[in-house]
């Protein structure tokens, strides 16, 4: 009985509490977004890009506004969602906003964060959309050595711009989940990032 009550309590527990808020080394902060309304409640939310402990990836920390109060609440940390070469001085990381396929558009539609990571070897941009279960990947743009791959999971299209202005389409496959290092296996074979040897 006690075990059932414990499991029920776990099932009802909020996703994250104040005690779960991660401590961040300020020197590992890469970028932030503080104007977007990810959960479509009219109040800005917040997202931080942080260099992962390993240095080869970017973690994102998400805060969403509480319904009613407008107070920001820590929701989750998603690990290794973008590649990185940290702390080399050549890496560039940013968050911007974008949208696609919406008419009319909600605030959440036009507040889709585009996470970008540029290094000497490759670049990857990932467009996300917040859902009840967490972040969903809605698009990706990868490039390496003058070879660019543009995927729109909402439209189920993928295009490759290769050398000498050669463009062709490929099957994007199903939208990958935002799991750690998803880009290694989650992108179509032609779009994967293979660092220079």
């Amino acid at each position: 009985m006690r075990a059932v009550a414990f499991l029920a309590a776990l099932a009802c527990a909020p996703e994250a509490s104040a005690e779960d808020i991660p401590q961040i080394d300020v020197t590992r902060l890469l970028a932030s977004a503080a104007e977007g309304d990810f959960n479509d409640d009219g109040v800005p939310d917040r997202l931080l890009m942080v260099a992962a402990e390993s240095g080869d990836a970017v973690d994102i920390v998400t805060f969403l506004s509480e319904p009613g109060s407008g107070t920001l609440r820590y929701v989750r940390t998603d690990r290794a969602v973008l590649p990185a070469q940290w702390p080399t001085t050549s890496g560039l990381y940013s968050v911007s906003y974008g949208y696609s396929d919406c008419d009319p558009c909600t605030q959440a539609d036009v507040s889709r964060p585009i996470l970008s990571s540029w290094t000497e070897d490759f670049s990857l941009e990932t467009t996300l959309r917040w859902t009840e279960t967490g972040w969903q990947i809605t698009g990706a743009r990868s490039s390496r050595n003058g070879f660019e791959c543009l995927i729109d999971y909402a439209r189920n299209t993928a295009k490759i711009d290769a050398f000498e202005d050669t463009t062709y389409t490929i099957d994007p496959g199903p939208a990958p989940a935002l799991a750690p290092y998803w880009w290694r296996e989650g992108l179509p074979q032609e779009c994967r990032l293979t660092p220079r040897p």
């Binding site: 808020i21 300020v26 890469l30 800005p44 805060f63």
Partner: protein, 209 residues
């Protein structure tokens, strides 16, 4: 405790900065990050490598502070060089109510960090600039203006114009505060206060949104 720790960092030789213990804060204290970007606008110390500024809530969560960091060119590793703990006031209730908002951008004039605080209720908007490339960064200027709605669009009326450092197009240190009673207060603000010494209570009350 923190002050002595930071003082130790600031007094340490440059080679020791990379070995300094990390400065960690709860993630919910981070308000904004101005990191490396494609235009290298944040290479404030001019060594060819991007630096970093992070806007934070103070430990007491009633003020907005700023961390400045510079990178070691050989490794890209960053180290905290400045921490200003009370640049502007922070009122969580007004933020949650949608009145106060803060943003962190770069100045169009010199690409240096610009901290902005706006009040939807009063229409006041404040900008605070600094000079992170200096060995001893100061508060450069503080400008507050009020948005006045017009039949078509709006206009921005100056409320406070405080220049601690002579800027292009402005005279030497000047301060002008347009008081609510219609009078104007002019005074010499003195030299730019060190960022780490500045406290927002040093600002005349009408200047705060």
């Amino acid at each position: 405790m923190r002050r002595s720790f930071l003082a130790a960092i600031l007094l340490a030789p440059a080679t020791a900065l990379a070995d300094a213990p990390p400065v960690t804060i709860p993630a919910d204290r981070v308000l904004g990050v101005h990191g490396k970007n494609v235009y290298s606008e944040n290479d404030w110390n001019g060594d060819g490598h991007g630096d970093l500024a992070v806007l934070v809530l103070s430990e007491t969560r009633d003020a907005v502070g700023l961390y400045l960091m510079t990178s070691t060119p050989e490794t890209g590793v960053l180290a905290v060089t400045e921490y200003a703990s009370a640049l502007l006031p922070y009122d969580a209730a007004r933020v949650a109510a949608g009145d106060l908002s803060y943003s962190f951008t770069i100045s169009d004039e010199d690409y240096e960090p610009l901290i902005q605080m706006r009040s939807a209720a009063t229409g006041l908007s404040l900008s605070l600039s600094t000079n992170p490339g200096s060995e001893a960064p100061v508060v450069f200027s503080i400008r507050t203006s009020r948005q006045v709605p017009l039949e078509s669009g709006h206009r921005m009326d100056p409320v406070c114009e405080i220049f601690f450092v002579e800027l292009l197009g402005n005279g030497p240190q000047t301060a002008k505060v347009h008081l609510p009673d219609g009078n104007t207060l002019d005074y010499d603000p003195g030299p730019g206060p060190r960022l780490t010494d500045w406290h927002y209570t040093d600002l005349p009350a009408p200047c705060l949104p």
